[in-house]
Symmetry: C2
Subunit: 503 residues, 2 copies
């Protein structure tokens, strides 16, 4: 077997696996959008079957043989070329996958599907007790997974590695500690300002059908391709890339809150632009995949906040917004509207949080899920710990468990270790925007005219098209000239909120 | 290996295969409802992969070993018990599947997906030339399939066997010849009547959103369970059973034609009621599957016509209909509305055809697809042959190929041999209704009050719950006391249209 034939076989296998995984992705998308309620038991069996088949393929000893032939061969001379990138990551995944027993993988898929439906119902009824047994099973499965995978310091490391390869719990904790101090200081200053936005302007009547049309129009104007994508309704906004030419976003709208739906669409669209910017020629291989969840969230948070909550963005879009929502906005000026959508106000809800307090919500989840996985916190103690943390860090108490511990879907889907990605994303996003403006020039004039192609082009060139060529840290360094660093995020927030609140 | 352990293994394998097949079903449903256009190439690869995996599993020699142990064992003593039924059909499918090369199965799935998208576009543009190369490939694949499967008289037999096991082309041709003569005679009498319905009443303005709500309400009232089902929009109405608790219908609506959308919903709902009436405990096994396509169409055509175009049905629903479509129907009496929805008028469209001419559309397709498969007709000659047949049998000429040869999706999906099922379904349906009224009593009083549970209960007991226990012919005999027989269909049509047209 030559390295060339081994590589061809490896690619064929990896692609077939990705194709099968993409069937599972569609099942998941459908479960959260259109599946009838009574279909959940069957869906859970379908997902378990595919998870088992994927695991069987992913652990085929043939992978090991092929990788052995390739490693050290001339074919991988250039570490940044597709061959080396693909072999490196496929080895990583093969070793990881081999450590997981098939029964655990199948059980995880089965339980996640059922638990998700249970979470939806529990949230509707603000009934944590109904969800608790599911959470216990999910935590148990994640702990078993961490034990099977192994870790250096703490079981949480093993889970974090899935979402942000190469990053350790201790690194995240150190970064978050710095950020927390800075953000709380800034929050204090904002709270002391005499300038106050009129957030209630955004709680007038915004008809849902108009919000849907408007959101699609904006996503389209920013560069999301609807020939190869969709935007549907779901309980929780998310983005699923089924495959090349098929990237799907979801949203939920509330007629009494413009920001709730709109910024979630921008967020998911940011994910979607990343997926649409991957190199199709490499579909199914690490070179055609996103780097990490943190990198993914850097794209979503960038479009949601650094673009969508900027003044130039609204200079371009506010006239149309006011025309569409005339009854609600006829007497609202651009400056007042912009200040309202940037209003800083500690609250119980993460997705709707402002740019400053958002990260505090993440710190809380990071702390609690670490404790759950470490066995230092039980599912029974969780709601109390949640509410305590909210009082301590944000000074608010959730009205009930639906607004509290049940608000996010992540744990219900079995995703422990995911949350830090949001704040890592905020950090990377600020670095990207700073670097892009350094490379391309100030974006404000173009954005004010509704032209976002400069930023999108920069992201495609510097982030999207590289797939998993480098780790997230290395990608940040190559794109921006600096390693991951919270300074641009803090500087950006200080500048923007300093102006808005006249600090 | 005891027969008991062999049976347990067989059941486990068959169920897992059904679970995987149900993933493919969801991919197909999604392709025709929500998939973005640009996703088709990827979807076609997904479907080819699953078709290949299913074929690999379906031809596993282990099946043969298990069946060998079981056949002749005491476990199968009662031929009507689940064990015997399952073993009989699984043997049938195993032998059939073994004859098909995997490459042909994969290619069939891949081409069907791409051809379907090409058909949609060709139909939009009434551009048969754009679809012709696809049709040629599809016919070629079906001919190759027939050759691989083998047949007694004609290649079409091999295809028909898939949809209506045990029925031969010659049987169908003989039945259709009898029916054709009777239907043309009745059509002549109707044409000579001086009574004329006002079909134009149904081409007033029926807002689409109201049609959607109304259709769902009626389907629900007739017994379709929306907790375990859906009704979405699609280019072509169809029904997909993803699995227990997940049965999906699609429809299309036209604001200028009430019958186009409404009767298609009743039709698909009939399919859906059959699927929802199968025994869940047997999911994934022949005992929990529909008998044949003809039996499936008997259910759809029964609810669409024998119920939905009956006078008692409209006695129950017309007041609500008039309230919802007040602008269109405020001056229309029940009798005139009912006569209009039963109007007999030869036309170019099958789905919208009346109960008499509908079967003539089927005869045309049966004749043409037999000729295509036999190699007696080329794809190039097809549009001409189609239009000739329409002139000859129905006296109409399609306005273009969209209304002509491109009107149906079946061939575009690679389904050759399916069409006879509609007329077989009409035959069975008339027999079922006659038998059900003999067993339960005249349905008119209950239907007039909106109660259809008597009929649904009879169908569940006598048809749905039996799965594939018997062939379609035997099921008809057990349920009605007679073998398949066109007499009740002809008698029913003569009685109904004799009254309406005062023959």
């Amino acid at each position: 077997m030559t390295p060339e034939t081994a590589y061809a076989d490896l690619v064929r296998r990896a692609r077939e696996e990705a194709l099968l995984a993409s069937c599972a992705d569609l099942l998941e998308w459908d479960e959260e959008t259109y599946m009838p309620k009574a279909g959940v038991a069957h869906r859970s069996e379908q997902r378990a079957l595919l998870a088992g088949l994927l695991h069987e393929r992913g652990t085929d000893p043939r992978y090991g043989e092929l990788l052995d032939v390739l490693e050290g061969s001339e074919l991988l001379q250039d570490p940044d070329a597709a061959e080396a990138v693909n072999v490196r990551w496929l080895r990583h995944e093969y070793e990881r996958e081999k450590k997981l027993p098939r029964s655990l993988v199948e059980e995880g898929a089965r339980v996640a599907s059922l638990a998700y439906e249970a979470w939806i119902e529990a949230k509707e009824n603000a009934d944590y007790a109904a969800f608790r047994p599911w959470l216990e099973r999910l935590v148990g499965l994640s702990r078993a997974e961490a034990e099977a995978l192994g870790y250096a310091d703490t079981p949480y490391d093993a889970l974090l590695e899935e979402y942000e390869p190469g990053v350790r719990t201790a690194d995240v904790a150190a970064l978050f500690a710095v950020l927390q101090q800075e953000l709380l200081a800034l929050l204090g200053e904002v709270g002391g300002s005499s300038r106050k936005p009129q957030a209630k302007l955004l709680r007038r009547d915004f008809p849902v059908d108009r919000q849907r049309l408007f959101s699609e129009a904006v996503a389209s104007a920013l560069g999301f391709d609807f020939e190869g994508g969709r935007l549907d309704l779901a309980e929780h906004p998310f983005c699923t890339a089924v495959g090349p030419g098929d990237v799907r976003l979801t949203a939920r709208y509330d007629s009494r809150s413009f920001p709730r739906g709109f910024f979630a669409v921008l967020h998911e669209m940011g994910h979607g632009l990343y997926e649409q910017g991957l190199d199709r020629a490499h579909f199914g291989l690490p070179m055609g995949e996103v780097v990490s969840l943190g990198m993914h969230e850097s794209q979503s948070r960038l479009w949601e906040n650094l673009v969508g909550r900027s003044r130039p963005f609204w200079r371009a879009f506010y006239p149309r917004t006011r025309a569409i929502f005339r009854d609600a906005l006829h007497d609202v000026k651009l400056d007042d509207f912009h200040f309202a959508i940037c209003a800083v106000r500690p609250g119980a809800n993460r997705v709707e949080a402002d740019e400053i307090t958002y990260n505090l919500h993440i710190f809380i989840r990071f702390e609690l899920e670490r404790a759950l996985i470490a066995g230092d916190l039980t599912a029974a103690e969780l709601p109390g710990a949640w509410n305590d943390a909210y009082r301590r860090l944000l000074g608010v108490t959730p009205a009930d468990d639906a607004e509290g511990v049940l608000q996010d879907s992540h744990w219900a889907a079995g995703l422990f270790g995911y949350f830090p990605a949001y704040t890592l994303g905020n950090v990377y996003a600020a670095q990207f925007l700073e670097a892009a403006e350094r490379d391309v020039g100030d974006f404000a004039p173009a954005w004010g005219k509704g032209d976002f192609s400069g930023l999108l082009g920069w992201l495609r060139d510097n982030v999207h098209r590289h797939g998993r060529r480098w780790t997230s840290a290395e990608l940040v360094r190559r794109a921006t000239g600096a390693p991951p660093d919270p300074a641009p995020l803090i500087t950006g927030l200080r500048r923007k909120y300093g102006e808005l609140y006249a600090l």
